[in-house]
């Protein structure tokens, strides 16, 4: 507004609702454009096909203004990274600087995730930050992919990059570039993906400067502040509508890869007026295996779960966090000490989300689903391709199934809500790696039964066509299953099977091993939990699932009390009703 600009003094900028709406939309467009740039220019399959990255704009204090529809788990971790950059480089940030970091103990999450942060200047005055976080397919360390669950200290996990200048005043820091290039197994992909991050950060910078030119610095920052207030206000309104009280839920991780002891994630949600505390007191102490989650990542996971229970109108900005306090005990798996290993911490994040959603189901059942597959399964296959003598690393991620909702079934073949990831095309995978895919399919009968069933898990079966390959798998939900809600049953456990068409050896959820040519590895992912009483499931829906081979006749009989007519296909409606009554009576007896 011109009149506000003219009054360059200290009187507050009047926030015009129209300009406000226009600016909000402009920021959402910019982050989206940044995200599209990464996708179209990246080199590694994990970034360009699986889309494991995020794009964010921050204000000049490092507070998030908007995030693209990318990996949600990164959203809450950006503030901590920004805090480190802002405090460590206070007073020395210059135009043309670009910062990177990946150290989990200095603003990062795990080593493969490199944060790139580009401060935006107009003249000499800081206007904000353009941020892109990308999961690189290798950061060195003992296992290809730098993602192993079975490391025992951070020093095994790869190259740690403390907060550093990758560019200083526009000049590349060749030492740092060399250091990275030298320490990773596939430097072309890593350097190419850094280029993609920089391209996107540069677009963010250009667009913020356009906004400054259009609105003037003073007015623009006043609107940025108003946007954060708006995020906070909507969040508080949502929370205020929930009944005050403490809501608890505990979920488990199967084990850390060294021990099979279930690892508890305990969550208490305390709703108090228009603010909310998520307290993880009682959760497991930090563990030996690499599934410890830095506190920034724990917060990130908790925020996004709470966000799922709020209205769709709530924007993706830092104002949301003002209404939410997250606490986790020190030295715990959710707030570990250096040098605890953290590479496979995403798993813990997924379980934090499950635990928080489990507690929120008591507050906002209409927005919450039963547990999904429990987070993506990561399969890393690395070695040397004999034909080309080139190193190769495949980091493949298997997603996913949603649990049953209050009024409809879960979704199958879908990203975990904590990310927004895609999958790697089979034909791309086969053209690039010495691998052949033997199956990629929905897994029948894997759904948790319910009035609304969970989504089916997926199965993916690989044949390895190279010699002496390192195979590393991170899977969970082999023992502690995706929970059902309101009488719904849990989903089926996940499994790793070696040589499924031959000797069929079942392997643990998390392992690293050397395998030979023609090894076949199959992963069967857990299905989503059910929602509501399986005996109340609509017969039409059951018939449809039977017809589509998503469930078997046996499943329908046992889980849903279905009785078939003599043809073995048609449902005997009266017989089913009688059998269901009988099953309910049994249940009643058991309860007594």
């Amino acid at each position: 507004m011109p009149e506000a600009d003219a009054a360059a003094g200290t009187e507050p900028v009047r926030i015009d609702p129209i300009t406000f709406a226009v600016l909000k939309s402009a920021l959402d467009t910019i982050v989206d454009e940044m995200a599209g740039t990464v996708m179209r220019t990246a080199r590694s399959p994990i970034v360009r096909d699986v889309l494991d990255y995020s794009a964010t704009l921050c204000d000049r204090n490092g507070l998030i203004l908007s995030q693209a529809k990318t990996v949600a788990l990164h959203l809450g971790a950006v503030p901590d990274a920004m805090e480190v950059i802002v405090s460590r480089f206070a007073g020395s940030v210059r135009p043309g600087d670009v910062f990177i970091l990946n150290d989990p103990y200095a603003g990062g999450m795990h080593l493969p995730d490199i944060f790139m942060i580009r401060p935006v200047f107009e003249g000499e005055r800081l206007q904000g930050y353009s941020v892109v976080v990308a999961h690189h397919c290798d950061m060195g360390g003992r296992v290809p992919g730098s993602n192993a669950a079975d490391s025992t200290e951070i020093f095994q996990e790869g190259l740690r990059i403390p907060p550093s200048r990758l560019y200083a005043g526009g000049e590349p820091n060749e030492t740092l570039f060399d250091l990275i290039r030298t320490n990773v197994r596939v430097p072309d992909l890593v350097m190419g993906d850094l280029d993609a991050q920089l391209a996107a950060c540069t677009i963010g910078e250009r667009e913020i400067r356009r906004l400054v030119a259009r609105h003037g610095e003073r007015e623009l920052h006043a609107y940025f502040d108003a946007l954060l207030d708006y995020g906070e206000e909507l969040t508080r309104k949502g929370i205020a509508a929930w009944p005050d009280g403490t809501y608890r839920f505990t979920d488990y991780i199967d084990g850390d890869g060294f021990s099979d002891a279930p690892i508890p994630i305990c969550c208490a949600i305390i709703v108090d007026g228009d603010s909310l505390v998520v307290d993880f007191d009682g959760s497991s102490p930090q563990v030996r295996g690499a599934i410890n989650a830095t506190f920034s990542f724990t917060k990130s996971s908790a925020y996004l779960a709470v966000r799922c229970a709020l209205s769709q109108d709530v924007p993706n900005n830092a104002g949301v966090y003002r209404a939410i306090t997250v606490t986790a005990p020190k030295h715990s798996i959710l707030n570990p000490d250096m040098p605890a290993p953290v590479a496979a911490r995403a798993l813990t994040g997924y379980r934090v989300v499950d635990a928080v959603l489990g507690a929120l189901a008591k507050v906002a059942p209409e927005r919450i689903m039963a547990a999904g597959e429990g987070g993506n399964t990561v399969i890393a296959i690395g070695g040397y391709d004999k034909q080309t003598a080139e190193p190769f690393i495949l980091v493949d991620m298997i997603n996913g199934a949603w649990g049953g909702r209050r009024d409809k079934d879960g979704v199958e073949g879908i990203t975990n809500p904590a990310q927004n990831m895609s999958n790697l095309p089979i034909e791309t995978l086969e053209a690039r790696y010495p691998l052949r895919m033997e199956e990629y399919a929905l897994r029948p009968d894997s759904c948790g039964a319910g009035r609304f069933r969970g989504g089916l898990g997926l199965s993916r079966q690989y044949r390895i066509l190279a010699d002496d390959t390192i195979l590393q798998v991170r899977a969970d939900r082999t023992a502690t299953l995706p929970y059902g809600l309101f009488g719904g049953e849990p989903g089926t456990p996940s499994r790793n099977i070696l040589d499924p068409d031959g000797r069929r050896t079942e392997l643990p959820g998390k392992f690293t091993r050397l395998v030979g040519r023609d090894t076949v590895i199959r992963h069967e992912q857990a299905g989503g939990g059910g929602n509501g009483d399986p005996l109340e499931r609509d017969l039409g829906a059951i018939t449809e699932d039977l017809r589509n081979g998503k469930i078997s006749g046996n499943y329908a009989e046992i889980r849903h009390g279905v009785v078939f007519a003599a043809d073995g296909v048609t449902i005997d409606v009266a017989g089913t009703a009688a059998r269901r009554d009988g099953m309910r009576d049994e249940r009643e007896k058991d309860r007594r």
Binding site: P17, I18, L51, D188, P425, A441
Partner: protein
Amino acid sequence: MRETGRIGVDIGGTFTDIVLFTDRGRTVSRKTPSTPLRPEQAVLTGIRLALEESGLEANDIVSVLHGTTVGSNAILQKRGGRTALVTTRGFRDVLEIGRLRTPGMFDLSWDKPEPLVPRHWRYEVSERIAANGAVIALLDGQQLLDVGAFLQAEGIESVAICFLNSYRNPAHEREAEAILRERFPEIAVTTSVAVLPEQREYERTSTTVVNAYVLPVLREYLVSLADGLKAMGLDAPLFVSNSNGGLAPAALAQEKPVFFISSGRAAGVAGAGNLGTRIKAPDLVAFDMGGTTASASLVKDGKLSRTTEYEFRSGISTPSRFIKAGGYMMRVPTVDVAEIGNGSGSIAYVDDGGLTCVGPISAGADPGPACYGTGGDKPTVTDANLVLGFLPDRLAGGSMMLDVDAARTAIARHVADPLGLSIEEAAFGIRAIANANMARAIRAVTIERGLDPRDFKLLAYGGSGPNHACDLARILNMPEVLFPPAPGVFTAMGMLSGAIEHFLIRSLQQPLDRIEPATLQAMTRDLADEAIRELSARGHDRDAIGLGFEIDLRFAGQDSELQVPFDPDRLEDEIGALRPRFLELYREMYGYVSRDGVEAVNMRLTASIAAGTADIWQRAPETVTEAGQRPAERTRPVYFERGGGWRDTPIFDRDGFAGPVTGPLAIESADTTIIVPPGATAGTDPAGNVVVTIDA
């Protein structure tokens, strides 16, 4: 000599537009109500009326050019044929699994669209081809025959065949096609290599399935239409506009309907490009605004902006080119249109946090905007425009009265009161937010591609586009806005200016610097021969065929390509020029280039023939008075500026308007109202366009 004519037909949701253009330069246009259940009825009625009015006989018509929404409606309303999929063992769920992503986030109530082929109609057979094209397992013919028997028993009308890695070796798909066609001739067959011989199984399967699904419906429609035309004595060739903005014979549309899903819309953009070239305005943004959505598309150097894939979805697609989710994926050449869920019927509301929003929910035609008095009580963009004087209080040439009080009440209740604003301020806000939303569509095709909107003129058409276009031009600093003579039937006009196109693609898949000139030469020759053979067989003169070659290039390891044109006649020079040309395009788009190797992915050929025998845009001049512009006979108060209050605004009729007149003014015709804000100047050009110069 007898006067002959060509007919352009565009079927819309509400009206079917017919434009008849004769070789003597006469134009007759007709709008008839659409007949969604039997769309050909409205077409035939409209053509009959247009013939009557023109005095031409049916056999004076030399061609009928057609844009149809039958394909998109079949998907939208799930009314395609009974369709099956045959695929490689282990992979029947590829179609349903898709690419996993969700278009929004934090929304656990989201649902994926139902696959067009349900799981029980997706059959697996034993066969396998490796990534290098080698056969690992032979196709099991007996299994295929068993599958055929199932298909027959299930009453399947159309089957898609998609095997893994068939883009490297199509032998198994061809074999399966031959077997099924021979033994089950009543079932239509689409192989994936016939529509999209490209890597990526989900995209290829989905494209093939859309083709198979739409095929029976589009075929039935086109046959009925041809029969109806024949019955009235109209035996001229029938062409259908494809998603790429070109025209192709109806026979091709029956065989490969997936290339024709965005049939009409693309023709409008093609028309914009054509008009632009004619009037020496090669750089344009074509802007169309309807009831539910607004869309923008780019024309640069006279060329349409195109993309190689898009998703069809039932809801609204945003101009985001990043999110792929929630639709039916088609990798086919398509005019790149950014669409946003904001049209004249979009509803305005204030959310819980006090943010004013417009769209994407639309009042549509039913219940309609509050001012229509047809049951709607929510404020829409149309209501805001009416309250502010941007629209007259009667539409469609006076046949429809609008209720200003109802519009004011709706705006007061839902926007002005909650925000503590006056009704005018709130209405102005609604219009401003709608403008900001629609500007996103224009941004998506300009700024997001590194192009400065100031270098483009805005061409506005559709019923509502002209009402907002000057505001959008101001937001984006665009210097000039063009309004074609009949914005309401512009798409049908566009078809009459279109070119016949034939599209071919071959997989290259190798580093650019390792391609032998001989390989490239052989491939260009093969493609050219095939295109010329195909078009000659349809009776086209070989010399009239223009060939445009492009190579899809990317840096080694990337997944997205840029289309780089090249000239096959100067192959030796061109091979060296491809890399720098790619780098230039790449830098323009992404702001940097890499030193890495460049990969060639596909070669594309678009063979085209200009279809027009006369120039549709060289219209007989309007009845312009020699003495210059007469002053307006009436005025109306219009609320142009917030705080600036009402301006008494002269209202001109489009008929007889010549200009120049400096704004504020409005120019009205039966199908639209052009708004020219204060400071801007409206004139006309020789082609009959209204041209508005926006003040800097």
